[in-house]
């Protein structure tokens, strides 16, 4: 089967309504999926397991950033793993976008592929959401020495070398900027990490909107970043 060397890392927290479909759909292309259950109070973990994902269970709720790091360390346990994909559990990502991103990284000239909502016009975000995301990107670019168009996108493909060096300590929301910052300061034989961006389509369904973060969260993210 193709993509045996790819692991999808899915942080999972109270997504029982959609997780079985999300895992089932992704498994048609990517056989290796690890869901890191972050202390869900519903039966998300069991549903994910039945849908064919490997489930790692946090004994207590730690946050999405912590779940990603756990997923990374789990995936590193598979010696055949070459690429890790970070993927959201709420069904807002498209499997096809991941396929394109994995094809991109397989060309071998970059070690990281970031998904971006703003490279084409497919994603329909509200004006206020756009503004907040743009501000977050501006802040991240200014502080990390990277040039991205969308820093808070959950969809990324990372080469094994990069995953080995990542150490996310921001358990809650600021982990997205932390990942970018760590990749920005990473050096392989003295050279910066080459990265690319691919356009992705984020599907803001009523479900994901209802679960989505309020704009107030931008304040929380910013303060977590400054007060680290």
């Amino acid at each position: 089967m193709q993509n045996e060397d790819v692991w999808l890392v899915v942080p999972l927290y109270n997504e029982a309504a959609v997780i079985a479909d999300v895992v089932g759909e992704a498994r048609t292309v990517f056989p290796n999926i690890v869901c890191v259950d972050d202390g869900s109070r519903d039966d998300s973990a069991d549903l994910a397991e039945r849908a064919g994902a490997t489930v790692v269970r946090h004994p207590i709720n730690l946050g999405q950033g912590a779940a990603l790091q756990t997923g990374f360390e789990f995936a590193l346990g598979d010696p055949a793993m070459r690429y890790v994909v970070t993927y959201d559990a709420d069904g807002q990502h498209q499997v096809h976008d991941v396929e394109v991103m994995v094809e991109r990284i397989r060309r071998g000239d970059v070690r990281v592929v970031f998904g971006s909502r703003f490279l084409d016009e497919r994603t329909e975000a509200s004006a206020s959401k756009r503004l907040v995301l743009r501000a977050a990107v501006a802040y991240t670019n200014a502080t990390t020495g990277t040039r991205l168009t969308d820093a808070h996108n959950g969809l990324r493909v990372l080469h094994r070398d990069v995953v080995e060096k990542l150490d996310i300590t921001q358990n809650r929301m600021a982990h997205a900027s932390e990942i970018v910052a760590q990749i920005g300061s990473m050096r392989f034989a003295g050279a910066k990490v080459a990265y690319a961006e691919e356009p992705v389509h984020i599907l803001y369904t009523d479900y994901s909107k209802a679960k989505g973060q309020s704009l107030w969260n931008a304040v929380n993210i910013l303060s977590e970043l400054i007060w680290r």
């Binding site: 039945r50 064919g52 490997t54 269970r57 946090h58 360390e73 346990g77 358990n171 007060w227 680290r228």
Partner: protein
């Protein structure tokens, strides 16, 4: 009067910076300095109990502050800020530690990646009421 309050603002700013640098650090020296400061404060408190008439007010005057009570208030504000900063730092450090612990537990209890990939050639192995724990234990045994 206005010149005096300007001095006060400068004093407070300077103290804030010092407090930040002192209290935010976790090294041996900052800890020792903090303890010495506490000892000094205790001595001053004891002295002001013995001679309550003008101790704080005299000290305040020497620093360009009007009353002793004001000086104590400023001191408390700075101390509280320091407390907030140290507490935040300690909580962060503790969070990092218990996260590592919880992650270790989670990974130890999880089926290992490469075992799992081989054992689930067909996803049907996990359907039904069979709990996955026996296979996990078997994987851990070797």
């Amino acid at each position: 009067m206005s010149r005096q309050s300007a001095i006060q603002i400068l004093l407070i700013l300077a103290t804030l910076v010092i407090a930040w640098r002192l209290l935010a650090g976790t090294g041996q020296r900052t800890q020792a300095v903090r303890r010495l400061g506490l000892l000094l404060l205790l001595g001053l408190v004891a002295y002001s109990i013995i001679d309550p008439s003008k101790t704080w007010t005299n000290l305040a005057r020497a620093l360009g502050v009007g009353r002793g009570a004001d000086l104590i208030l400023y001191g408390l504000a700075v101390a509280f800020l320091g407390f907030v900063v140290t507490t935040y730092k300690r909580f962060r450090a503790m969070e990092v530690r218990y996260t590592r612990l919880a992650r270790r537990i989670a990974l130890d209890e999880a089926p290992r990646a490469y075992d799992r990939v081989k054992s689930t050639g067909s996803p049907d192995t996990l359907t039904g009421d069979v709990p996955p724990s026996p296979s996990v234990k078997a994987a851990d045994a070797d």
